[in-house]
Symmetry: C2
Subunit: 474 residues, 2 copies
């Protein structure tokens, strides 16, 4: 689309500034008085609510139950699992004063809730009959970050965290991968983002997990963004917190655990995958406003009424529609709603009215279509579906174009410097992974499923065991 | 209903113990490792989700928008409004360490969010065109309490807090009272609780408010419970935070503010208004399970199939239904689901099947009805509506029977000691209010709307200005 919005830096000029401009100008968020703690404004929060609706539906269908656990974790509890505390301790926010008195066992503001869930599971799990337990919670978590960016890295962010307990390793692994598949499906069905799924390396896995799997997305600038993770914990936390159950064979056993989550970082992914130089481009199924109606010469009585009629007709389709009957000019409104990424704009002016027609503009590719008034409902329905498909396909093309096999550190560096994934045969040795990071700043994003290793690792020359994707990442 | 459940203390024996038994045994909540921070278990949290659905619908219809504000409030910001800080400072939880370093401007974990909302409104309100602003958020808040009780008083609880800004006092007052009316409607429509609404006295109003209005409910034991509040703030916070807008007349003005909230305390009200000696009695529209199907001799193939058929038929009505096909005895299941307050139980056994009939048991009054199989859908639909009405009427009768006009401190003491509201003519002098509290421990619950004062205040003998309700309260 032609660049029209002067409030927003062009992506090619300064992608980071473009991102911040979109976040602020589209009124998705604002900064608060505390560094790193952002305000989720109505337009940003509404996207999150759509994500919540989608996931809650599937979580419940597959037998998960929502709960709410304490915001605080006593330091003594937090320290029970050694790897976990090592991973999170450096970035904790700690409360030390309650009711004007010093707190003995200091309280960690939850950075993640493995400790409180496992502590509770120890109380309520005693028999194989109590398994599986599949709990999820929607909440905010706090991680004291030095450098922060809206939605991508914050001292506080919103997320869901699922924590489940199972009788067998097989069942827990199935849960871990089922959830990963659900996240991928969410990308396909509502975010219009093709996620790459795979396993994380030992270096990049979650603190305390046996194995971490992730969904990764490629941003417009060629950097990768980890958009969600699903962890298999084995029995590590169960043992540390003494969660035991009497199995059918009359033996006491430790259950197998998982945890998984996606956060408001997904909003960052939506912005950076789909946005353009005129601002946000929202996928229709998560857009807070799916259709905006802009009357031309809206002060005229007949145009005003037509606008209201269109609003009520589209609302009957259960769409999220807005009639912009403010006193701004049509040009101002066009730019405003384009910046806010509304998928469809319906225009109606005096001449359209006279000829019984309407003009519909698609945000994703800027195309304008003239339809007969009577076709409104069908056109809007079809166009929203089209837009979703087109946006997904465009993102998929971008992804596929930007996965490049590499056979040397130089090739890898060239790829990740330009932007995109470098696909490399890897020996699975952390030394090679470290060397790549040191020389290129790229990290191992994931070991994609269904890829067979062959040949040698170009870093050390040893036999390759895995196919790995490297990229610079947010 | 006849007392059958031995796990639960009788209400007459020890109401406080009965309450705790129900909370724990019905699996609504559990205690965590941090005093006062409870765990909202799936069955308790699901009630809260129903309340959220109801309110979100009406909030959005009336133009409110959901947002999410930071969990923490810098101490310097918190201190801006003098009355407010005085009210909340004694019970704050304060974070002093972030990322292993001391935090300069200490962070208060939000006890309520007036400060952060007003601080943000100062940034985004500059013209009359920006008004009204009507934001709401769902979150948890922390108040460091010495004595805590599940749902009623906790160091952390879940709530919604609405914060709105308006151009005029009239509009802000209308908002304050519209929300109070919505809360009352929620009581009538889904909680089956008749709330008494009215204004709080100066002594009992919210820290920093000009006027506080509340919904009050009468528990089974005759104690009152404040179940929600709606505040008009005038321009106090606007002035303290310098929120100003340019009005149509070209003058800079301070907007008028409101805030309002209900919390998970409503779950406590549901328990104590409706519960009986066999446990929880849930109003149908907030019950996580509305109908439980209990097969008798469910191991028999035909009974098993019948159970599944009934489940699928009731699910088609969009009801929340559970088929209990566990290997427990029917007697155990009856007691369990009665304790959990499920409004309807459908039983089907071999003889019922033979005769093409079903037995339905109502939790609220223990009545059993035999119906023909084909009447299931209609009967269940009608019975759920009946149960809601009966529960509301029973609670209303209890309330009306327990409002007693009093003409002396002795009469007042007798009424509140027995349980219930004492309705008294009041001079509006805080000294009389204090004297009553001192001599009886009862507090002024509210000044009900539409009540005309006459005669004198029996405490001081001066002319009465208001009709006041006094009661002992949670």
């Amino acid at each position: 689309m032609e660049k029209k919005n002067e409030k927003i830096t062009s992506r090619d000029v300064d992608f980071a500034q473009w991102y911040t401009d979109v976040c602020k100008k589209a009124e998705l968020m604002d900064y608060s008085s505390t560094k790193g703690f952002i305000i989720y404004r109505p337009y940003g929060y509404a996207i999150w609510e759509e994500i919540q609706h989608y996931l809650n539906y599937y979580f419940k269908v597959s037998g998960h139950e929502n709960v709410y656990m304490p915001l605080v974790i006593p330091e003594s509890l937090f320290k029970k699992e050694k790897d976990h505390v090592k991973g999170f301790a450096p970035e904790t926010l700690i409360a030390t004063i309650g009711g004007k008195e010093k707190i003995q066992d200091k309280l960690i503001i939850r950075p993640t809730s493995e400790c409180v869930f496992t502590d509770f599971y120890a109380k309520i799990i005693s028999s194989y009959r109590d398994l599986p337990k599949k709990y999820n919670q929607w909440c905010s978590v706090v991680r004291w970050e030095k450098t922060t960016r809206p939605f991508l890295r914050g001292s506080e962010f919103l997320w869901q965290e699922g924590h489940t307990m199972h009788a067998s390793k097989e069942e827990a692994m199935k849960e871990t991968l089922d959830i990963l598949a659900l996240y991928k499906k969410m990308g396909e069905e509502i975010l219009a983002i093709p996620f790459t799924t795979g396993k994380k390396s030992e270096k990049e896995k979650f603190a305390g997990a046996v194995a971490t799997y992730s969904i990764e997305a490629l941003m417009h600038d060629g950097k990768a963004l980890q958009c969600g993770t699903s962890h298999y914990f084995g029995q590590g936390f169960s043992e540390a917190f003494n969660v035991r159950y009497l199995d059918k064979d009359n033996k006491m056993k430790y259950p197998h655990q998982t945890s998984w989550g996606v956060s408001t970082r997904l909003i960052g992914a939506i912005i950076m995958v789909h946005g353009d130089d005129n601002g946000l481009v929202l996928p229709p199924w998560v857009a807070p406003i799916q259709v905006v109606i802009v009357p031309i010469q809206g002060q005229k009585e007949n145009i005003k009424h037509k606008g209201e009629e269109l609003l009520s007709r589209l609302k009957k389709l259960d769409l999220r529609v807005k009639l912009d009957d403010s006193d701004q000019t049509p040009g101002w409104k066009f730019a405003e709603w384009e910046m806010k990424g509304v998928p469809l704009r319906v225009e109606v002016g005096p001449r359209d009215l006279e000829h019984g027609r309407l003009v519909i503009a698609k945000r994703n590719d800027g195309k304008k279509i003239t339809i007969n008034d009577g076709e409104l409902e069908e056109s809007v329905t079809t166009l929203l579906q089209d837009i979703h498909k087109e946006m997904y396909q465009k993102a998929l093309d971008h992804l596929n174009k930007n996965i490049t096999p590499v056979n040397s550190i130089d090739e890898l560096k060239k790829v990740v410097d330009k932007g995109g994934y470098a696909k490399m045969m890897w020996c699975e040795d952390e030394a090679c992974e470290n060397k790549i990071k040191e020389l290129t700043t790229a990290t191992l994003r994931c070991l994609p499923f269904d890829e067979k290793a062959s040949g040698v690792c170009p870093i050390c020359g040893k036999k390759a065991k895995k196919v790995a994707l490297f990229a610079k990442a947010y």
